[in-house]
Symmetry: D2
Subunit: 397 residues, 4 copies
């Protein structure tokens, strides 16, 4: 990663994060507690204690919430460094969905809500869940199909429905529920222990980096006091956008680091493993794959930084983050796929972290909007910009 | 799968296999015993009892070994049908490495060796392992780098070395060891209980369809009587070729079935799941992926049948099976990758078999020679055929 | 090309065609008359005289029309051989659009129409055009948008409209016009000299293998006698299908030969040209490209033969020919693109035929339906077959 | 193109260039003089007169040579704008090979050499050629295979050899010859009219944007005075590197503009052309292609700017320009290939500039080093950086 143009603050943080990940986090990767649906709560606590001691807990947050007040561009450099281990973002408390939830709460919640719900998240002592997606033909890529409903009664809201693929729900104390209120949607803050919040099962999934895994949750007449509405009633879809663009981008940042790690592993292997009379890297069939990795990692880095600079300019970045999500997720997948291939038999074993990187980044191509939804949205932008523009001096055929 | 041109025998068998897989095998997929490194021994026994009852155990074998004496082309149709569940080939006793080992024994072993080692395999009561690949810079794609050695002493052979990625070793009773004898190599038949055969660990791997998983094995002065040499001394690399070409191709056949299953699941989902006002399949972004799947499944089927017909003509099929391995493994991977994408969030969960298919077929791109080794070998063929051919009437520029 | 399974008749013809192309056709490739929009009329005559002398004029035709009565499968082998030079199909009178037009006439025309319009085509003394596609937002991939209309008046038809990309129109004597008759369409046979048939211009295009190039034609009140309706009134779209499936496939056959030629040229070059201390082919970056070429040429050959066998079974082959068109046109383009790359600077010059092959096959990805239209049609087939199929024993999830 | 972060000078120039290209250059695209191997000398003069009047001749040059003294980053923005027509860089006198030759002369030539050879180039009144590549197994991607030799005799140099693909030689007055001097190489400045400089023929090539096309030249005992050695004797390969990195990058800049133009044309077409009941752009099969174009154009722009910033930092940029050349040339080719596809039949005609863009950018994937040579060079970098690095805290496995 090229940090030569980064701010002094970012450069200093990146160096500290790199050392922290390599010296303190990576040794935990083979810890037996880093198995199952995600790292165990116990392991998460231990890792976070180390990050706290290193002064690296949620560094992107504003200073009043314990961070260093990083710009999006600075965040990009730091988060990429954190992802050098899949456990890095967990340790530093910047993993999805917590990182995006903190961002949303910081932007939208009231002072009291922040004290109650954001404080423990920012401290790294609690975890959170974002309850939006649904099974059974409900809300997926198309949020308008949401089936979970909230109705107001006697000054409180009653929420009923079913959610799935709810990351981190098992073990979380804070939840943000998205529910239909009429033909609009509203967000609600919830204590996950509230009666009616029933975790049906934890899904077996291809990935296993996120604490708590991904749950199916039944919401059975969950009662939410009026002061736990997040922001304004009926504005849920708007807030979802506030959360989504940066959340997509921080995914890109973190997984970039994991892909870079995979590339480093594959490159070292290719330089030291012999076959047919020379090192693997001297076989062009292998060397070209590693060359393509270097090109694609650089392109992904540039896309992330470009999109971050758009967010730093105060723009919503919907188009830019869609472009970055498609380009980066697909590029990183090709990178880790090549790494698996370069490692050969070793690549399909868990003896290196590349096997996990491959699985995680496959899932990333779907989380936060599959590529197809983003392309669909970008194509609508093309239509909007080019429709009815006929050949003129400025737009010749 | 188009079986209209298949023989009557093959057509009848395919129909029986299809019914067997759908009615008797698929219900076991969510059996808790189908977890961990591979289906448990207990599950394997139960599945094989059902296949035995259905008359579908190792149907490709010659009649004297309990099969129907199928040609390679007939085998292709039957094996593709078996792969419709990842458990299908296990149930029918045609999974790697047993299927390839039986083929090799049938071609090369003595009458006594067959009775002792092939009989229990053909009966489906025992499992086997093929001990060729090595860790620590030993034999991988380049078998000449083999470090395991066998030395003759007092009428028996003493084998020392280390093997890894040895599929099915845990739980197997029959082993075939490949070891260096001078600068040549020799194959040895072994009872896996022989002293000195030490399973060091079972690797965690991306795939989990093969009983026993993939082991690391230390060979510590393993003593093998002279009559357990398989074929002639020093002819090991030649026999490896006898085993490899058809073994590569049966991999293609089996995983074709699993990719077809994935496509069926994704297609039904795309037809029934709505988003943005219409069924997914009506979005070209999804429909085109399914169209490409149909094209690639057909091409893969044609490549398999073509290569099988070459083997049926009595040829070794080295070039053809390399071409088929590259083309089919890469095509099937694209197919299952698209299926994951079409299923969206569902695709990354184990709620359908697609998630497993994706992982298995990723590994298949490496097993039996990664694509790069086959391309390297095909390029040597190009060099051989075109070198020094100058422009003539028959070969104009 | 593997002709080992072909009929004796096909094998013998293929050998004669191979010799004819190499010895008599290829020397004409650098003839100055093989420039401009296509080979000149004079060159066409000269080439056809040679093919006639060799007994190789339109060999696929029924015997009563001077051919050998080849099946589609036999035609595939012969046409692939013909395409080894872009001038081969022109010489043998099996180039588009004549070959497809002869096929259509032979299936649909009356005895009198055949004598007048098919006879000179089958003799190779005349050329023909198929007037379907239109400019200005008219009929392209979607024929229902056709703007050209035919109205009946006093026992004859008056046709008005504008056609473009009409291959071979300049120099053709026979035309088949597709025009709207109400909300249906009808085909008309026409003498291209008929008053009102005005060639507006010959388009400059990326390809230049077809005599006459591609024209824009104004149809100004063109009068056609009732006995020149081809087949029944209002059945034009149906006949278009009769013409299309085999026409798509013969395109695949001919361009396969040109791609094979390109591969032969690139392979010889790679074996004889040195760089960085060894022959190009020994660089894996080059050798792998040639290996992929061999794989894709084989797959394309198998797809063509499979689709031809479906047509030989008497089926319409709409789905199969769409699959073949997409797969073969895209595969052949990748093949010639790699050939250009392997040749380096030489590849972008007209010093070898590869440069033309690249341009022609780029156009082929659009002619007879761009890939997207075929994928769209295949996706509709997926929808039709999978819709409402729920999980059953035969169709499990 | 996003110029929001560009300098005020660059922004102002970009706007002027955009207007100049659209209003004054594009109308010449269909001029009959813009045919054959490249735009005619007469057309070049006329275009340059317009650029001179607009103050846009070679704007990147230092002020003493009549330019605005642009940084590489500023040059990137301006050159991208110039490429919006293939005639733009010709008009502005920033086309290859002149632009790279001027850069080289400005860096290496003596004061006297600059006055004699650079002055007329900078004025736009003369054209130049760079004579490096050779036919017949000589220097191509591997310059060490150079066969042209220069020997010193009586205070002057005698050069003998054969060069090919010499862009712009026909009509050029200034040449830079690269010739072997012993086992090193030296560059020589030459008046193209010097006896012994024999243009053998102009090659027919896939591209036709460069005045003079590409020539084959025989050097028959060409006599060059000692004061026409460019830089030091035996340092030719070093100067070639000085020329190459920025020359590669300016190619990327110019063709970016042409690809952007193609995308604008295809997008407008897709928004206004109907098929199957809606605008093409509303078909995801088309809309997704245009979305991918927007992503890839953005990525290409970012890569160019990143590499330009490395050059602005005073580094040689060999690795970075190799990465940019591969990534940008391949991305732009995919962009124009998609544009051809979106335009359908129109795309393969010369009715829009897209057809030419497709041909030119295909050649660009080979000019200035085919992708494979750059990947080979990048793989060597991987080897250099990762070799012998074992797993440490900073470089864990």
């Amino acid at each position: 990663m090229d940090i030569s143009k980064a701010s002094a603050k970012a450069r200093e943080l990146v160096e500290r994060v790199e050392a922290f990940i390599c010296e303190e986090v990576i040794p935990y990767e083979k810890d037996p507690r880093n198995h199952g649906h995600g790292p165990s709560e116990d392991l998460v606590r231990e890792l976070r204690a180390r990050a706290r001691a290193a002064g690296l807990l949620a560094p992107q947050l504003p200073k009043e919430w314990g961070g260093y007040g990083l710009s999006h561009t600075e965040t990009a450099a730091v988060f990429r460094a954190s992802g050098y281990s899949p456990l890095g973002p967990v340790a530093m408390n910047i993993m999805a969905p917590d990182e995006g939830n903190m961002h949303l709460l910081e932007k939208v919640a009231t002072v009291e809500q922040k004290e109650r719900f954001l404080r423990p998240l920012a401290d790294g002592t609690a975890r959170s869940a974002f309850l939006m997606t649904e099974p059974d033909g409900g809300a997926g890529s198309d949020p308008s199909m949401m089936k979970t409903v909230a109705v107001e009664r006697d000054g409180e809201w009653i929420i009923s429905g079913r959610k799935w693929l709810i990351t981190g729900a098992e073990g979380a104390s804070v939840g943000i529920i998205m529910a239909k209120t009429g033909d609009k949607a509203t967000m609600f803050l919830i204590d996950m222990e509230t009666p009616g919040m029933q975790i049906e099962r934890i899904l077996d999934t291809i990935d296993n980096s996120m604490p708590g895994g991904h749950a199916v949750i039944n919401l059975v007449d969950v009662r939410v006091p009026a002061d736990q509405v997040l922001g304004a009633v009926d504005e849920g879809f708007k807030y979802a956008q506030v959360r989504l663009a940066p959340a997509r981008l921080t995914h890109c940042m973190r997984w970039w680091g994991t892909a870079k790690r995979s590339h480093d592993i594959a490159s070292r292997y290719a330089c030291n493993r012999q076959a047919f009379g020379k090192a693997l890297v001297e076989h062009e069939g292998v060397g070209f794959m590693l060359a393509d990795n270097e090109i694609e990692l650089k392109q992904a880095e540039l896309m992330i930084d470009w999109c971050a600079s758009v967010l730093d300019d105060g723009k919503l970045g919907t188009v830019e983050s869609s472009m970055a999500k498609v380009a980066v997720s697909e590029a990183l997948f090709r990178v880790v796929d090549r790494c698996v291939q370069v490692l050969g038999g070793l690549g399909v074993t868990r003896d290196t972290v590349v096997e996990q990187a491959f699985r995680e980044i496959r899932a990333f191509r779907i989380y936060d909007g599959p590529s197809e939804v983003h392309r669909w949205s970008l194509a609508k932008g093309v239509k909007h910009r080019y429709k009815d523009r006929t050949a003129t001096a400025a737009n010749p055929a």
